[in-house]
């Protein structure tokens, strides 16, 4: 049942008579390879360009962890899961020392209470006000760089003396220019997926630097 009137070539998606999945599967496999190659290239470029700042941020974070600081991560949607992954990596690492880390998107009671009673823009801000100390570190994931609730939380955290780190995509959005985001790693891509994949690699690298820079435990 091709589209009538010879328009089938224009609207192949109307063609329900397609039965051989072979060509589609070949296309999909090629597409997967191409996307993965794009992802790998982006990751390599961003890691190379960010190495110096990653080292600096990692050292600063290690110093804060040594002094009893805690890591607080935040993000919306898929980025909240990337924040949760970062928290797992720091808090329950595959190797090295577990460090105090938690996600501000974890507690559904707090999140829904603030979101419902006040507004979703303050769900992270109010937690920062209530819980954050000057020695803490606040890390936020936003592919657009423009999430209002992250920006408000960054402002407050910065004001309190925290170390603030942002991971953004596209051109970095507000996070790239906000003075409250002391370090902003921008993944220059138009694809949210490719951005998130590279943000994961940045998180891993940051964790590696921190672990290497930590002062040994116990009295010297």
């Amino acid at each position: 049942m091709s589209a009538p009137g010879g328009t089938g070539f224009l609207y192949p998606f109307l063609d329900a008579a397609e039965r051989d999945a072979g060509p589609l599967l070949e296309d999909l496999a090629r597409s997967a390879e191409a996307k993965a190659a794009e992802s790998a290239a982006l990751r390599a470029n961003v890691l190379a360009a960010s190495e110096d700042e990653l080292s600096a941020v990692g050292l600063a974070m290690a110093t804060r962890f040594d002094a009893g600081g805690r890591l607080l991560a935040m993000g919306n949607g898929g980025s909240s899961t990337d924040a949760a992954s970062l928290v797992t990596l720091f808090g329950d690492p595959p190797a090295g020392r577990p460090l105090p880390a938690r996600s501000l998107a974890d507690d559904l009671a707090v999140l829904t209470a603030l979101g419902n009673d006040v507004g979703f823009e303050v769900v992270f801000l109010r937690q920062v006000i209530a819980q954050v100390e000057p020695s803490d570190m606040v890390v936020g994931f936003s592919t657009s760089g423009g999430s209002k609730n992250l920006l408000l939380a960054f402002d407050e955290a910065c004001e309190r003396g925290c170390l603030t780190v942002g991971l953004a995509g596209y051109q970095g959005g507000q996070m790239a220019v906000s003075p409250s985001v002391q370090h902003c790693f921008v993944v220059p891509s138009q694809s949210i997926h490719r951005i998130q994949e590279t943000q994961a690699a940045l998180s891993w690298r940051l964790w590696e630097v921190v672990q290497a820079a930590l002062r040994p435990l116990g009295p010297s």
Binding site: P12, F13, D15, A16, A17, E18, R19, A21, L24, L25, E26, D27, L28, A29, R30, S31, A32, E33, K35, A36, A37, S39, A40, A41, R43, A44, N45, L47, A48, G77, G78, S80, T81, D82, A84, S85, T88, L89, P94, T143, I192, H193, Q196, E197, T198, Q199, A200, A201, S203, W204, R205, W207
Partner: protein, 261 residues
Amino acid sequence: MSVGTAAQSAAGPAGALDAERGAAGAGGLPPGFGVDVAGAALALARRFAHGGTLWCFAPAWPAHAHHVAVEFVHPVVVGTRALPAVAVSAEAGVAGLRTLCRAGDALVVVASSEEPAARRALARAPAWGLTTIWIGAGPRPAPGAADHVLWWEGEVPSQAAHTGRFVLSYHLLWELTHVCFEHPGLLEEPQVCSGPACVTCGDEGRLVEVLRLGEGGAVLVRAATGLEWADASLVEGVSPGSLVLVHAGSVLTVLAEGSGE
């Protein structure tokens, strides 16, 4: 057949990213991964097209289960449809999944091949009538442990979970699944069987899960086709949750719990 590149890091998992920084533009997928994720995407699209729900389970890394679910429910690309996908928490586990899932659904698991809860869930999935996709790293699961196995074989699971390997895997799965919706003719389940198979001559043995014990050795079991009664007087150690093989109304054997095979 395989369009994968051989650009796997030779430096081992620990130095994977270091090595990659020196190899910009490398494909980075394990050999055959592209073909595997293509097949998984088509299978998943077929389940969605027939009203199935995608259950997402990552007992050791719950964030990945949530990421997969939000990917499908709230797509980042304009014009793509929202699809039913739900993360099952590690606390809910196999018991939660058992209660929630229905025959015709799909299950994506992000876990190492050693993860006990993942193995228990996947071993039961045929009895629940689920199409299964297993994303992971490290030693490959036994052959046939899931319908589709998307694997990063040369990597350490606890590292692959954080370097973006798994994120890339389910991003590709999501992107390719939506391409399949542009091919409605291919979303019909393939018709490979022509005619009923016979219980005896086919030496039939159906994998089912015991739901509860009845009287006189009878057990109520859950099969992909629905609930039924079977006689369990020929076997020992059957309890609710046991995976068993039924032939002509009799339980012939009890499978090792969650062997994953």
